[in-house]
Subunit: 370 residues, 4 copies
């Protein structure tokens, strides 16, 4: 019950079905005084927009975000600012073809949540995947844009990119390249080969998986011991994206074959001499860049015939047509960034409590002494 | 702030430092009427006990758990039962050598949380790692044993085992073997080679990482959409264990190179024909076994000289002696099981709300009709 | 930070400012299969509508609610049902006169949150009280209507009424009268005198307080020990309504002068012989009617000259004109009902966990024995 | 389920039954660097100790608190300080006579939670009231002492006292008197008459109720809009004390008969000219003293014959002997203070987030400009 809220202090609640009138998000806990306009949020949403290459489907969602509450432009300010009250964002749905899903009403598509939603709730809105649609991530990206405004004021930047797609892997990390190819890949040559692979697989009626890497600058001290460790929170946030089946931090699964003497990052007065830890020690950020990678499964909607069952548990075959992407990459990249931002915004605020208390207590002490 | 509680309905709060007088856990939300004794919990704790082979350190913690509240034996019952009130468990520390940590007081051990705790809190109990010690996981295992009693009543079983250690990988999954070797490995021959590798590395003053796999039976319908997806919760739970640097579900990172037609698990009237999903679709269990793997980093405490800094940020070298294991495996296996049990107990209770409401509403309806 | 969400399992998040484009609420955790239409919610909203007598202001808000997500009409059903996913409700603002608040931009109205919002956030939307406006309660009433649908399926009914207004007190509890006078008063004669008092005070440019009583049928077992006691939760819910300054349960403040032998409600096989407890013992419902009363302060907006300060902390005088009611009663009555419903819906779901577990465990046990 | 935790950032979880081996509390979220010793906590516990006059029972609980985790004395410091990790406090039970409760095992005492615990859980520890015993409040007082240390560093002080007992009411507020009489009454003459009333009622085998008032200094800005209003949180906290049946803030129930022009507190450059609001406007503290009152019901355990039922729902009569107080006052006074402290500590930390963010953001801005 009630799994649609994320965060403790920077709290985000999303709502909406793929083919309902709208979807949206309420952000509660964003501090006041932060510049926020629809244009700022729209920029992030546009990065997630389909139809921009990379095996994308032709569905042209305008995805115009509107701010319904939580900002105000005081007299004399040249911009809308957050007020500290809940920020409600809405995206009206315009380009949904519900009719095209009628034949799926009583059939469970393999690899989708059709069967599990039915098992859980005994009822489901089958149109376009209903609540389980990737469309839900638009609200996350919008919320992530708000988090981004807060993080920016604290010099925290988050960047995601495509590390691998369909077996093609980026060789290096040429950050300039990310905005030069439609796949957000830090290796333009690899991006070219990924596109080739996409075209090949499209003609075969199949889909592709890949790997996204996300980096973030981060001050030391973020994350809470034991259960709310920063890496745990990041893992949960990223694994909560539908297509993600694995998450690793720093050296990740490679640690299984490393020696302690190889894996430990030595410290020097200038900082850590290595980042196998991915910027996190004992669940708390150490000041190095946070580095994480996620495994993205191939889109389960394929126009090939698949074996499945219907609501009556009878065997049927199915071809999932419609307007589908070949890979969740690159559209998933801004979603990954958004989730990391939501985690960092929340933990930044949690850590500010300690910072403020230290200042207040020591200030108070010096007043008493003075 | 306040990251020591886990769960929404089955809520677990742990406390305690490595060298304090005791550590423990409070479990709030365990339903009443469940059989629970100290012996039941002790059995699980004993599985985590060091000194039982597998490169374990000679520190002989008795780790005797005591139940301080939450159980009662009503007249006529032959066993103590939970009462629905908080269950407080305590483990007194007996074998702690605080003095042996005095030289570490002002030095940050590489790979440990020393530097990050200092950055976060400005103060830390350096003895034995303080709160960041692996000793904290004893409380998790104790809580997991309580969860296990609840899950058993719902026919849910969780089993963890060593899949790889120091580069040696189990070939198959011989479940009978798990209790036959001290490494909880489902391949006795691989276990033998893992032991060899441990001995080799011990003589070199180094440590080893590995991979643990956890399987669980699970009814369909557990997990909540969007942010509280079952896989997200499992990832967070497992990543919250200190040594874990990666988590994957089902096919995990292999999905990056798979085609949609390979990765989709077809459905048949008898169930799914494959389990690449690891038992979870759209964040909700589908009735197949849950399957997850975690990457375990090598123990960072090594008796080799390492480069680091002290509290004054001056360069120093350090050798971390003391009584340390060569690998977090196998002691981490019961901890992984415990975390999975805590997630499943919580989500089982969350799902029971829906089940009960359906029953109540339909019962009510039929009463009105009848 | 982040105080706009209510409930643990039946979770309600409201948003919106008085003079923004809209306000609304997201309900997460409502079980699936519950009949829900805009008409059902609108009926409750209409009860809260101003301009229906009782000293109400002439502002004619249409307050049309729209359901944006969380319901679906499956083939073959004759009504929309909840699906278990978040229910998003929106009410667009139509009749807001922002300009009329321009002169209040830099002045703190006595009895309002102007000064405290400024102190807390350093910025505020002054128009119509911004987030602190009573308009926010429309979203609560809408959410309460959803809770009401759930509670009805469990035979729980909540009724509020005016017990006192401007010093005039209802003599008895004639429940039929409540819908016969515009003040929701269970005593038509008292209602008549209350109206007289309202007219008298209106001509003096002043406002009135009163007392609302709320009754609810409730099965035994709702409420959690210690901090989440049912009476504590009800007190918080009711005190979270802007105008409420006191809450009492059962005999309430009268217990201060009672003897134990008077206050204790004896038990008989047919139930309790008295209800001084107001239906709650040790924080858990006992099966008797829940009875609570709230003290409602006079509306602070009065057209009389009052002493106050401006943003620069300079002394100024103010007359608060505009379209204001003479008393928060009766419009607050449906808001009180809504808050009680939200508490009961949440605690009903929490209790269902225990009910379901008992059934499941005993069913399991009997299977094992059989 | 799971109602034994209080607070969002300053989180307190209590556990323990009246006649179990111990009771205790875990405090998660207390900032580091705060002086904390067992002596500091013990002082507060001693104020709650029975047998110090005021109609107290002769049960002599030593109630010695022990700190099990969360504090550390760094080299060079002259006192133990909190470390930011969970503070676990334990109080072992020593003077419990379980046998004296055997005859109550199957009978529901009127005015107690016996019937409701049985209805909720289907099992209960009947000895001494089990979890519902007032003994549970010792853990709250201990936690409140920790909160008090944090609040003191921010110049927040909380004071409770007896305003009325058995119909006798304190005339004024002579704060010096509070520590001069065993009833914590700010009117020594009234205290003398209260003692007379206690003796009178004791001889009649009956018990008494009363009113406690709590005052607190508080900076402006504490409390969150809408559902987490400071008055709502205080009401919940105070109503969660077993014997409390009513809570009011500032003018409280008197507002029902006041005019708006009487009730509004005018503002002046030197502050508010009145405190009918009790220091809270729109749910946020305004800088004036917080003022609240609670109605305390008479102790339900009376040695008179009362009508009730047993587990089989058969009519029986009962006399509740044992070692019981005549009134929950004055022992409830430190419990009220503790609950107010827990609320203020939590909301102080929540407000520090805003303070710190404002500082950080403006500091950051000036750096960029500079």
């Amino acid at each position: 019950m009630a799994g649609n809220t994320f965060g403790t202090l920077f709290r985000v609640t999303t709502w909406g079905e793929s083919h309902g009138p709208a979807s949206g998000v309420v952000i509660d806990g964003c501090p006041p005084g932060i510049e926020l306009t629809e244009e700022i949020i729209q920029q992030e949403l546009d990065r997630r927009r389909p139809g921009k290459g990379g095996g994308a489907s032709p569905r042209q969602e305008p995805d115009r975000v509107e701010i319904l509450s939580g900002t105000f432009r005081p007299e004399g300010e040249d911009c809308e600012l957050t007020t500290g009250t809940p920020i409600s964002l809405i995206i009206f749905n315009k380009d949904a073809h519900s009719k095209s899903y009628d034949h799926l009403q009583n059939v469970f598509r393999p690899g989708h949540g059709d069967m599990t939603y039915q098992a859980k709730y005994g009822i489901r809105d089958h149109r376009g995947g209903g609540r389980a649609s990737a469309r839900e991530t638009a609200a996350r990206v919008a919320a992530g844009a708000v988090a981004s405004q807060l993080l920016r004021a604290h010099n925290i930047e988050v960047n995601g990119y495509t590390l691998a797609l369909g077996g093609v892997r980026a060789e290096g990390r040429d950050m300039a390249a990310i905005s030069q190819n439609p796949l957000f890949c830090p290796d333009n040559e690899a991006a070219r080969r990924m596109e080739e692979r996409i075209n090949e697989v499209r003609s075969q009626g199949d889909t592709l998986g890949g790997i996204v890497e996300i980096c973030a600058t981060c001050p030391p001290g973020l994350g809470e011991p034991v259960f709310d460790k920063l890496d745990g929170e990041l893992a949960r946030a990223l694994m909560s994206i539908g297509a993600v089946k694995g998450v690793e931090i720093g050296a990740g699964f490679r640690v299984a074959e490393m020696l302690g003497s190889e894996n430990n990052d030595p410290l020097s007065p200038a900082g850590f001499l290595g980042n196998n830890s991915g910027g996190i020690l004992a669940g708390i950020s150490n000041g190095e860049d946070l580095v994480m990678r996620v495994a993205v499964k191939p889109i389960p909607s394929i126009p090939r015939e698949q074996q499945t069952v219907n609501l009556a548990n009878e065997p049927v075959t199915i071809k999932v047509g419609g307007r589908h992407d070949i890979s969740a990459i690159p559209r998933i990249v801004p979603v990954c960034e958004a989730m990391v931002r939501l985690v960092l915004a929340d933990h930044l605020l949690r850590q500010l409590v300690l910072v403020a208390n230290r200042t207040a207590v020591s200030g108070n002490a010096s007043t008493e002494n003075g």
